[in-house]
């Protein structure tokens, strides 16, 4: 074993404990003031269930969309040289830096029926702002950099010799991509997907402006937490939070497992 393990592990546990586990245990402690029946009643309320469905469904979908298109962006940035590349590279990070409320207001302005894009979509009968579709648009926006920034460095580090070797062994372009490049990038892509998903589940600021917040239709789970807090129902708010945490944690574990599997597979 490398020296310094004890110290490093001790530090890691302390740091994670203070930064992550302490606030989470406070959340759990508040929830415990509820009886089991009250807890179940809170989280099985139709509005709450609908909001879970929307939050997790839209987040997974948004992360999947980002996995596809973020990959293409990362590919272009890693593989090609073209004028203005640096500017595009910097643009990718913008959703990171922009205050989420600004993003939400900007997206709403564009997609409302009198906005630039909303105006074009309205005659087609597509309503983006103030509908679940708006939630998806906002989540795609805020999640995009996560995929690009995790995939891009891996693509850049991929040695061209690998592809050349594949070509000399008779693989065509598609085979090279599907059998050589993609497996090497897959673990990073899964990480990017997981990060984008996790970010989307917790997102509040940008979604709230574009969602329309109609009960049972376009209310996200974080909004119901805020709604509970507005009624001074701390315990009810944390009950929803605990369920969100549990589902998120389970999904992230699953994603991590997939990533571990794809990594070991790509090595063998």
């Amino acid at each position: 074993m490398l020296p310094g393990f004890g110290l490093a592990l001790g530090f890691t546990l302390l740091y994670l404990g203070l930064v992550v586990l302490l606030p989470l245990s406070a959340t759990l402690a508040k929830t415990l003031t509820l009886t089991w029946a009250q807890f179940m009643e809170t989280i099985s309320n139709p509005r709450v269930v609908a909001s879970f469905r929307l939050s997790f469904g839209a987040s997974l979908l948004a992360a999947a969309i980002n996995a596809v298109f973020g990959f293409i962006v990362a590919w272009v940035l890693a593989r090609y040289r073209f004028p203005g590349k640096r500017i595009i590279d910097a643009l990718v990070d913008l959703p990171f830096a922009l205050p989420t409320a600004v993003a939400g207001i900007a997206l709403t302005a564009i997609y409302a029926k009198n906005g630039w894009i909303g105006r074009l979509l309205e005659p087609l009968g597509v309503q983006v702002a103030f509908s679940p579709l708006g939630v998806l648009v906002a989540l795609v926006f805020i999640g995009m950099p996560f995929v690009v920034r995790t995939v891009q460095p891996v693509l850049e580090d991929l040695e061209p010799e690998l592809e050349e070797a594949a070509a000399t062994l008779g693989a065509d372009r598609w085979q090279t991509f599907a059998r050589v490049v993609f497996p090497a990038v897959l673990p990073a892509l899964i990480t990017g997907f997981a990060l984008a998903f996790a970010r989307a589940v917790g997102e509040y600021g940008s979604v709230i402006f574009i969602a329309g917040n109609m009960p049972l239709v376009s209310e996200i789970a974080p909004l119901l937490i805020v709604t509970k807090l507005e009624q001074y129902d701390y315990a009810g708010a944390t009950a929803i939070a605990v369920v969100m945490l549990a589902i998120s944690f389970a999904l992230l574990l699953l994603i991590n497992w997939l990533q571990w599997r794809s990594r070991t597979h790509s090595r063998t």
Partner: protein, 330 residues
């Protein structure tokens, strides 16, 4: 979490500065401009009266969010919020002031009032005259979510009160009316300013239910020549209350100045400031002076029709209350 950090920062800032004479007023969102003027006037007044230089700090946010910050330890000397229920909660949960706080100052501790009116598109194309028109099919109504917005609870109760009076206290008919009205609402913004933006900037809806002072402000700032105000036949008297937070002022030794700060509201000078910011003054003389600005409205109060905020909150806005039933029924 963000609110907590702000609360900590503000608390630290105010603790450091009180010895030079400083007050923290924790207020709600649309009073920003009002209290800027009021604070300047009171600082001048206090300097003349007591010879002390004052630093007046303001904190603004959603009304119940602000109340929660005070409950969780934000060192507010005074609170000036959107509805009595939020101050009741501070009294009940953190015991920072007595439960009968609202009797300590004249007019239910509400030195300025407002009412609920309609904002419509220029020329009133849908011919909206009264509450009845808001429940008609095809009319699109914009109002925030009463579960997240204190201001929106006044809107909701105003509609309910109108229906109750019209149908001779028939609660079932009132519920049907309010249900029909909320069926016409396509977006429930989380706060009043959000709804104003949806209506004015996004161009959504035929009518915005708004506080009169917000409606005037929207007219002045955003929609000159694009919007009209319509006053319904009956509305609610919105009474945003003020209170000294006893435990805080006694600890900080600021009781005298905090009480003077709120009592100053009941002087003619201060009443003029309220009127200039489109809040209805309670002082009869000042009210007469601004008569032209404020159209006559028949109003009822929350106490008269709902037996106070505690009851109204429990019946209508608590989980499983009437507002939830409106949406869960279908």
């Amino acid at each position: 979490m963000k609110e907590f950090l702000i609360a900590v920062a503000l608390a630290a800032a105010s603790a450091g500065a009180w010895s030079q004479g400083s007050l923290l007023n924790v207020s709600y969102d649309p009073t920003r401009e009002l209290y800027q003027d009021y604070n300047a006037a009171f600082a001048r007044h206090w300097q003349q009266q007591a010879g002390q230089k004052l630093t007046l700090r303001q904190s603004h946010g959603g009304s119940s969010k602000q109340a929660r910050a005070v409950i969780d330890g934000l060192d507010a000397d005074v609170v000036t919020l959107a509805l009595a229920y939020d101050i009741d909660e501070i009294a009940a949960r953190a015991k920072l002031l007595p439960a009968d706080w609202q009797r300590r100052l004249p007019h239910n501790s509400s030195p300025y009032t407002s009412t609920i009116v309609f904002l419509v598109r220029k020329g009133n194309p849908k011919n909206i005259r009264d509450w009845d028109d808001l429940a008609k099919p095809g009319v699109v109504v914009i109002t925030p979510n009463p579960k997240t917005s204190g201001g929106a609870r006044w809107n909701y109760l105003a509609a309910w009160g109108f229906a109750l009076k019209k149908h001779k206290n028939d609660q079932g008919k009132a519920k049907d009316f309010v249900t029909a009205l909320y069926r016409n609402v396509p977006v429930l913004d989380s706060g009043a300013r959000g709804s104003t933006t949806t209506f004015v900037e996004r161009g959504l809806g035929d009518v915005l239910i708004a506080w009169e002072n917000e409606a005037f402000l929207a007219l002045k700032e955003l929609g000159r020549g694009k919007l009209d105000i319509v006053v319904p036949s009956l509305s609610i008297l919105a009474e945003p209350p003020v209170a000294v937070i006893d435990k805080v002022v006694d600890r900080k030794g600021t009781r005298k100045v905090a009480e003077a700060y709120l009592r100053y509201w009941y002087t003619p000078e201060a009443q003029e400031i309220a009127a200039r910011h489109f809040y209805r003054p309670i002082d009869a003389k000042i009210a007469a002076k601004y008569e032209k600005q404020f159209p006559k409205v028949n109003v009822f109060t929350v106490d008269e029709l709902f037996g106070g905020w505690q009851k109204a909150q429990r019946a209508h806005f608590a989980d499983g209350g009437v507002f939830d039933q409106i949406y869960l029924k279908h």
